[in-house]
Symmetry: C2
Subunit: 451 residues, 2 copies
């Protein structure tokens, strides 16, 4: 077989990169569980009607068919065909409806899984990618304080990860939709879509689209642009919106909600993490109804938002009960891919192994296995050298993988020695009690290249 | 939307079942890392030519196509079409070839991922399922001792999991193929396939297939059946094979290897886990060339092997270098599905939350949030009650989820109390120092029903 080549859009990490990814996933899970979110996994596939009712991105769905499906079989109903899920929100809404009778509401769940979209790959945009979501779902009602909670939980996550500075942006769909309606605009989705392109086409470009395509007057378009340019971290944001002179009941509710979120998250900012009201952001997805979040990684704005979400009051309903929710989703692959390609996130070694037990000769394998078992019993990841060879060669084996310690076993009690191959220090050691420094037990993950 | 229904073959676990599954996955990962295996994840898809060159199961592959693929696009080369992987061995062999220049050999990796097969669902057989694999891959050579290591690592895993008794069966393909060749049989794969059906059709049925379909003489078929009925845990197995009077160089090597594995694993048996040479098992897959493993869960033999693998000397080759390997794969979904449906594996609660901080009134939310943050800072999973209501209602909220502790916050220092809702004991507690019993910090997983 000739050497296979990577598939564009389907990233695979090296063992050292995978250690970094696992650390990130461990932190996400730990923080989510500390906040009382229960893990859910949904199947990778959904019937097409489930995938499409949330709108917009049907072009990107991967459909499944069995290789040997009988040609005589009738083509299944389009709605019943299976496709790979493209996010974790739509499958979770389906899971809640399907299991509503067995769940306790408000239901707090996290979900860390892969998703797939058949779109054109580019940096930060993959065909297969891992998302980490939290959502809180109520039955018929869900208290507003959960809106702020989403940002606070993510702030806890980010405080534990060695990422570039992050800027979380918050807005409120009631606010912007109310503002547009207060201006007498009917085509609210059209304005949202146009304003969403601000980063790409600039204010003048948006103004052009609003007047030429959405059909606004120049004055309406100007007001929309003024709203979109407001940002801030406190109630001053609301004052500046009110100064634009637009009134609408929905606008007032949106302003109250936005200010309440800003108040609740005010303590979460720290060096490397800020939360800012940014009245330009809207989130493309139709299902958001209130608070919306987006997060930029400073220096990596071109990859898009790495942590997004919001309030959705009507995504799931079985006719009798509606399940309002709020959630936020961290793009694990979108965040790590660009950092890996710039060498900006590292593991101190490419294997979990902390100790390599060297082999003086093949006959010593049982002795070495006994040492390894004793070390593992105390939680020290240990492997035995695959073959007896010169000690220099066995030390090189460890060096190549970044394994910090090489153990030299001796049959006579008291004769064992362990060498820290970074310093070259070699000392007597007891296999029944020796432990490495806590810092060396597992690979370390940092934002700086390994020294 | 009407209530969605489950998809046959695509199991989804309840939050409590998912806690059990996570515990199993944590143990697998922990033991694999203690033994120095590095994590690898491969993309979910492979080009069809990769999936099919390993043979046999092409009927079961799910092919992908984009929903909106342009009808004018030419149908892609069949070989280049993408399909979902049906195991983790074939993708890993491809990963090794693709990254050989960057990996250090022998390369020890574990891989815990979903796989997909479009076959008819039945108990223990799913269309989407999670596998946990370890493999060791060498460049051109791989020492034999790794064959036994696969069983020893899995023995460490099983010692930490509350599963029903497990019976690991080992055999050797050189042994059985050499035996058949020593009998003058040419159609070795035909005999392997027939003998593999022993559990389904019995010895007489196999004899019939061997004579009527594979074309053996009655005496050849009889010898094959005698070999297949040999089992044992020590070198006595080899003596009984030799007593059948067949000689062949490959048979001798296979016997030596089998006895060496039995010697090396002799210490791993314990109540609830045995390793037995069973000369009947062969593993269907063509790529095995030496040691093979299968594992039955006692009382659940009908679901098939839950942990299988073996030696493959030629699965991956780039023409210059061949990468021999040995591996073993634990079927997580196949094991858990039948146990869940019999209520034979439990988590002590359905949420990670250990403490619910009750709310005397909505104005106390910041006070309650401060208590929660302090508890989380010491690693105690904590959530704040979603709404202020009567304490009785808040205690019921905790009870329904199995949350063991309810915290009653007080603004005045020294006034906090915590209640163990299982015993009803309620005591003063300091939010800056209180810790639950270590056993209550996380949900407990056991083989017995909770309570």
């Amino acid at each position: 077989m000739s050497r296979p080549r990577p598939l564009s859009g389907f990233p695979e990490w090296s063992p050292a990169e995978r250690i970094v990814e696992q650390h990130v996933l461990d932190v996400l899970r730990e923080v989510f569980e500390l906040h009382g979110f229960a893990s859910v996994e949904t199947r990778a596939v959904e019937p097409l009607d489930q995938l499409l009712h949330a709108g917009e991105i049907d072009k990107e769905v991967y459909l499944l068919r069995r290789l040997q499906a009988d040609d005589a079989d009738p083509e299944p109903d389009r709605a019943k065909q299976l496709g790979l899920h493209y996010d974790l929100t739509v499958p979770f809404a389906r899971y809640v409806l399907e299991n509503a009778g067995k769940l306790a509401f408000p239901f707090r769940r996290y979900q860390i899984q892969k998703a797939w979209r058949g779109e054109r790959p580019q940096e930060g945009r993959y065909r297969e990618f891992t998302q980490a979501d939290i959502d809180v779902i109520g039955a018929d009602t869900l208290a507003f304080h959960h809106d702020a909670e989403m940002a606070l939980v993510m702030a806890d996550v980010f405080a534990r990860l060695p990422l570039p500075p992050l800027r979380m942006q918050v807005n409120n769909r009631k606010l912007i939709e109310g503002f547009y309606r207060g201006l007498g605009i009917d085509d609210v989705p059209g304005v949202l879509r146009a304003v969403d392109k601000m980063d790409k086409v600039g204010p003048a470009g948006v103004h052009g689209v609003l007047t030429a395509e959405v059909g606004l007057s120049a004055s309406q378009a100007e007001s929309c642009l003024q709203l979109a340019q407001i940002s801030g971290t406190d109630a001053g944001v609301a004052e500046r919106v009110r100064a634009l002179g637009v009134t609408h009941e929905q606008l007032d509710r949106g302003l109250d909600e936005l200010v309440a979120v800003l108040d609740a998250v005010a303590g979460a900012a720290r060096p490397g993490f800020e939360i800012v009201a940014e009245l330009r952001i809207a989130r493309g997805l139709d299902y958001y109804t209130g608070t919306v979040y987006e997060t930029q990684m400073v220096g990596f704005e071109h990859v898009g938002s790495v942590c997004s979400g919001g309030r959705y009051d009507a995504l799931a309903s079985d006719g009798r009960t509606t399940y309002p929710g709020v959630g936020i989703s961290f793009g694990v692959t979108r965040t790590l891919g660009p950092l890996f390609s710039r060498d900006a996130l590292h593991a101190s070694r490419s294997t979990p192994t902390c100790v390599l037990v060297a082999l003086p000769d093949e006959a010593s394998r049982p002795l070495a296995a006994g040492v390894a078992a004793s070390l593992r019993g105390r939680g020290v990841p240990t492997e035995v050298a695959p073959e007896a060879s010169k000690y220099g060669k066995q030390i090189k084996f460890a060096e190549r993988r970044g394994i910090p310690f090489v153990w030299f076993p001796r049959a006579e009690s008291g004769g064992h020695e362990v060498r820290d191959i970074r310093s070259g220090d070699q000392l007597p050691a007891d296999p029944t009690t020796w432990l490495p420094a806590a810092d060396d037990l597992r690979p370390r993950v940092s934002g700086q290249p390994a020294g």
